[in-house]
Amino acid sequence: MIPASFEYYRPDNIAAALAVLEEHGDDARVIAGGHSLIPMMKLRMADVPHLIDLQDVKDLRGIKVAGGTVTIGAMVTQAELISSQDIAQAAPIMHEAALQIADPQVRYMGTVGGNIANGDPGNDLPGLMQCLDATLTVVGPNGERDIAAREFYEAAYMTAREDDEILTKVSFAATEGGYAYEKQKRKIGDYATAAASVLLTKEGSTVSTASIAMTNLSDVPVFSEEAGAALQGSSCDTDAVKAAVAAMLEDIEPNEDNRGPVEFKRHVAGVILSRAIERAWSRA
């Protein structure tokens, strides 16, 4: 499969990348790892006359942990997340999630920014960004702006990022307490049938804070505030977990596809969230 012809640009700085985007408008797109975009170009479902490769833009790289804040450049790969000691210590949930994205070859190429900005409901990091209450930074012709991850996703492949903007980094507070990223998939490399991100903190024997988000169970990642609230103040007993699952089920809207009918997905979502809460609690 050969994609349609395109012009290739390889800027080494953000300003140069933005200049190409501004000049060619809708006809230009940035490419990060390319493992979502290139298959779409090969199928001719994406038409990209001007392709801007971001691999040489050094400002989009690097993982920093400072003052309790984790900052990750958009071009950091999933393999880099997995091998980062900083991530393992400051946000172990991200380490656990990255290990479950696609397969080894894809993780060497696939980036944090691509996974988040693509807006594919099947991607794992958007749900995780909801759970972490991350801030996404984009830059465009009018400068830089921050967007809350919980405000970023509008519909499948539609986000608050404008076409002439580039996602540059994500940042969030280093996590505390228990965590789990639990994913059900048909095979390695597949998108989730259902996945759950859970962060819990414990005070004595009760849950003091809980953050819960779900992946691939709606057109957008789902942050379930009610599910978290159902756990808060409880001892994370069976009834509390059931209440959290019930609250989560109110917030998701799965579609039937080749991963199963809606009822099945709702069932799997419940099982996956229960497991995620159990594991997070055991680590809290």
């Binding site: 290139i38 070859q105 060497y108």
Partner: protein, 163 residues
């Protein structure tokens, strides 16, 4: 569209190829450089038959444009071993029946090569997790995993003997 001059180091040799931006790395390797080891399998980045080693990463060459690979150092199965001087992994695949039809084998061995560089003492689970991006439709993976484990053990024994 303008063709680009692209410098690539492949199996230790410098090449300067001319390619349109839309040319995929797998086609440059197979058609311009006549390296038929990396295979065109699914063309959708699922099967891993096109896997090559690129700057120390296992990469699916069907999902990278050659222009993106400009300046990189690539190793294909041809650079890992030859029929006269097989790599330990290749010997192990032969010894342990790690292949049947053989279509997935170049990608499988190229991936296992990188996996053993990163983790010289993998568990069976590590091997299964590490080769999850390579599909085999014949063996059921059992003998592939055995082959990689045997190669790891062989390489470690050789390393200890050398010390």
């Amino acid at each position: 569209m303008t063709k680009h001059h692209i410098k690539l180091k492949v199996n230790g040799t410098e090449h300067d190829v001319l390619a349109e931006p839309r040319e995929l790395l797998i086609h440059t390797l197979r058609e311009q450089l006549d390296l038929k080891g990396p295979h065109v399998g699914c063309e959708t980045s699922h099967c891993g038959a096109c896997t090559v080693d690129l700057d120390g990463k296992s990469v699916k060459a069907c999902t990278m444009f050659t222009v993106q690979a400009a300046g990189t150092d690539i190793t294909t199965i041809e650079g890992i071993g030859t029929p006269d001087a097989m790599h330990v992994l290749q010997e192990a695949f032969r010894e342990h029946h790690g292949l049947q039809c053989g279509f997935c084998t170049p990608g499988m061995i190229t991936r296992a090569y990188r996996l053993l560089q990163e983790n010289p003492t993998p568990t069976e689970e590590d091997v299964r997790f590490g080769i999850a991006g390579n599909l085999c439709r014949c063996t059921g993976y059992q003998n592939i995993v055995k082959s990689v484990m045997a190669a790891a053990s062989e390489l470690n024994t050789a390393k200890e003997a050398a010390q």
